[in-house]
């Protein structure tokens, strides 16, 4: 009892000190996060605003801060319909469509397929998994250069098969203006599908075995099991994988450069190549900025509704 009394006397200063400490503790996460928050605000969102601003100026080699209207956007809009011969911008956006769709679709399909195969409790999974995953550890430059050599008709696959005697074999997509973008898809899929497989594998391991057993008892075939139960349960993984792949697809720049150096007549350009080329090589900073803004808007238009619909269903 006496201890209670003494503590009551000392209570006021201690509580004061304690409250300072606890307030500090409350604030600690915010203090720790503040620098990175500030850096993100300035270097991501600040520069987004700056880029938008620049796209309405007549900036050439250096940024100019006088607003001169939307000429950069008008030029891009005009180029969007220059299909014959294709303007560089038209090539870039159609390539983005082809590359983005095929890259994401094939990676998801292949990743899921490999994950299901690896999930059959096979021997040596621990060896196989890293083999598929390893390409992700390479930079796009390495992937690009390796595939460039492999796909080059004079050095790689075609040459080798000719030497082995299959002289009618013909595979020159990387030199063909109409097919070069598909070689970018091949190299991109090779690199990313293993990683997507790992994501799906983690998802498959998280599925409750009881549900599977119940379904099997009810007489579901293996196909029905995956089609009706496993794949729907993997929906969050699909979302994560889609987000990872979508941003990899949109920021693909180095892969195109290393693999094709732009392709014959610039036929492998993606919008990011267009942006860099115009901003830094052609000294048309306003056009480059405008194309960057359009890229951002496209991403926002695709990702935001998707995220919104996915995240809204969670609390249900």
């Amino acid at each position: 009892m006496s201890t209670v009394a003494t503590s009551q006397i000392k209570l006021t200063p201690e509580r004061h000190r304690a409250s300072v400490r606890s307030r500090l503790q409350d604030a600690l996460p915010k203090i720790v996060l503040a620098p990175s928050f500030a850096i993100t605000i300035v270097f991501v969102y600040g520069f987004i605003l700056w880029t938008i601003y620049l796209s309405f100026t007549n900036s050439k080699t250096f940024p100019s801060y006088v607003i001169t209207g939307s000429r950069a956007y008008q030029r891009l809009w005009g180029w969007t319909f220059d299909t014959d011969p294709p303007s560089s911008w038209y090539t870039s956006i159609t390539n983005m469509g082809i590359f983005g769709f095929l890259y994401i679709a094939i990676c998801l399909a292949l990743g899921l397929f490999l994950a299901i195969l690896l999930d059959q409790k096979i021997r040596g999974e621990g060896v196989l998994r890293p083999i598929y995953l390893y390409p992700m550890a390479l930079s796009f430059i390495v992937t690009g250069v390796a595939w460039k050599w492999f796909l080059d008709p004079g050095l790689g696959l075609e040459q080798t098969l000719h030497q082995w005697g299959w002289t009618s074999f013909h595979f020159d997509w990387i030199k063909n203006k109409d097919f070069v973008i598909y070689t970018v898809v091949i190299a991109g899929v090779w690199q990313a599908s293993g990683f997507i497989m790992a994501m799906f594998l983690a998802g498959l391991r998280g599925i409750d075995g009881e549900i599977m057993k119940a379904a099997q008892i009810d007489g579901a075939t293996t196909f029905q099991l995956y089609r009706r139960i496993v794949i729907p349960l993997l929906r969050p993984i699909f979302l994560s994988a889609f987000i990872v792949l979508a941003h990899l697809a949109i920021k693909s720049y180095d892969l195109v450069v290393a693999l094709t150096s732009g392709g014959p007549g610039g036929s492998a350009w993606l919008p990011s190549n267009f942006m860099y080329e115009y901003t830094f090589k052609r000294n048309e900073m306003a056009v480059g900025s405008a194309s960057a803004v359009i890229m951002l808007m496209t991403i926002v238009a695709i990702i935001v509704p998707y995220l919104y619909s996915e995240l809204r269903e969670k609390p249900r």
């Binding site: 050439k60 294709p86 008709p153 004079g154 014959p264």
Partner: protein, 417 residues
């Protein structure tokens, strides 16, 4: 702990101060000459400056290459942290001069007589509003043929004097089973070759009007159509695998005898030298058929920035050393180009170099020295790249006819102007 930290900081800043005071005796240089021959050539300049007591400091550039260096330079200039000098090309010098960040070397230029010795066409880029802002290092010329002599002897070819001769020669090579024309299918290589084709097809006056003055009537003329036809003709002589190939690999095809000829600037000579080949016995250098007497040039320059007064002495020393006759000779012998001043003796140069020097002097005196559009010396980068787009799309088939190519060329250049 805190005290240690303070002492450490004090020491570090003291050191920084000391380093700063020594800045005066240092040349900070931004460049992308890192490959074997180029680096060796630059060592000559480092040695010359060291003799005068100036240390050389490379400004590091991540990734190498001209584009990365120019991006780094933009950032440095935006931050107000100017290098003493930077390797620069053509219109970039003028862009930076217009932005008011270049220094003024007029005094040195007067003393050294650059006005008289540097070709007038080059001064268009090294002098801005009457002030010398850059020191040209060399003059490259683009309208060259590089021919493997063994192959040439085998097919019994002789120097082609006209475009038709050239086509006949390529036919001979084709009949002998050699790849006639080594070309790298990258837009700048295709456009560099097209520069020569236009000069050959239309003559000096036409080249100047179309590719330096960007005259609309010339750009859409029948002569330009004919030039595209001639380009299409040349492209039929390349191997099917040419697309995307680097220029030095194309040169290697000629060196090895897989191909007969490459149309390329005189930097290709550096590759022949590196492979220990001698002009006249192993390889031949001719002007592109029908362009003898004219020179399409590009030039490397050291742009001089407006550095603080305590660094100006080092800058003047660098500029003087760059344009000294001994360095101009020593450097360009290694680099494959010719000196940027016309009064340098050609004794140390090989046969091709001697011809290059004589041609440059003649072209300068005769008014037939023109900037290469493909290399960014004919028009600002926006126009030059629009031009490269059109040529490359024509070579690779996105643009199908020469009529269409001419229409696209006019449209693209007008749009970029």
């Amino acid at each position: 702990m805190l005290r240690k930290l303070l002492i450490g900081t004090a020491l570090a800043s003291g050191l920084a101060f000391a380093a700063h005071a020594e800045d005066v005796k240092e040349v900070q240089m931004l460049h992308w000459w890192t490959s074997g021959g180029e680096a060796a050539a630059l060592n000559v300049l480092k040695g010359d400056l060291a003799k005068e007591g100036y240390a050389w400091k490379d400004v590091p550039v991540a990734g190498g290459g001209g584009d990365a260096a120019m991006t780094a330079l933009k950032a440095m200039v935006a931050a107000g942290n100017y290098p003493t000098a930077s390797q620069m090309l053509g219109y970039t010098v003028l862009d930076y001069a217009a932005a008011g960040v270049m220094g003024d070397l007029t005094e040195t230029a007067k003393k050294e007589g650059w006005d008289k010795s540097v070709p007038a066409a080059l001064q268009k880029f090294s002098v801005y509003e009457g002030k010398w802002v850059a020191a040209p290092v060399n003059v490259h010329s683009v309208n060259w043929l590089w021919i493997n002599k063994a192959v040439m002897d085998k097919i019994g070819g002789t120097e082609p004097k006209t475009f038709d001769d050239f086509v006949a020669l390529l036919d001979k090579a084709k009949a002998a089973g050699v790849i006639p024309l080594a070309l790298g299918g990258q837009n700048w290589q295709e456009a560099t070759m097209f520069d020569s084709v236009v000069l050959s097809t239309g003559g000096p006056e036409f080249y100047k009007k179309a590719f330096n003055d960007l005259d609309d009537a010339s750009l859409k003329s029948d002569t330009m159509k004919k030039s595209f036809d001639n380009l299409a003709k040349l492209v039929t002589y390349v191997d099917p695998n040419f697309s995307g190939r680097d220029w030095n690999l194309a040169t290697a095809m000629v060196i090895k005898g897989d191909a007969l000829v490459q149309v390329m600037g005189d930097w290709a000579k550096g590759e022949f030298h590196a492979a220990k080949k001698t002009p006249g016995t192993d390889f031949l250098c001719y002007r592109f058929p029908g362009t003898d007497g004219s020179v399409i040039y590009n030039s490397d320059m050291f742009g001089m920035f407006n550095v603080p007064d305590d660094r100006k002495a080092a800058q003047v020393a660098l500029a003087t050393a760059t344009l000294s006759k001994s360095f101009q000779s020593a450097f360009n012998v290694v680099k494959g180009s010719v000196p940027a001043r016309t009064d340098v003796p050609d004794t140390d140069f090989d046969a091709c170099g001697k011809k290059g020097i004589a041609d440059l002097k003649a072209a300068n005196d005769g008014g037939t020295l023109f900037g290469s559009l493909a290399q960014g010396y004919g028009a600002p980068p926006a126009v030059a790249n629009a031009y490269k787009d059109v040529v490359s799309k024509f070579v690779h088939g996105q643009i199908k006819t020469s009529d269409e190519a001419v229409t696209e060329l006019v449209k693209a250049i007008d749009d970029a102007k």
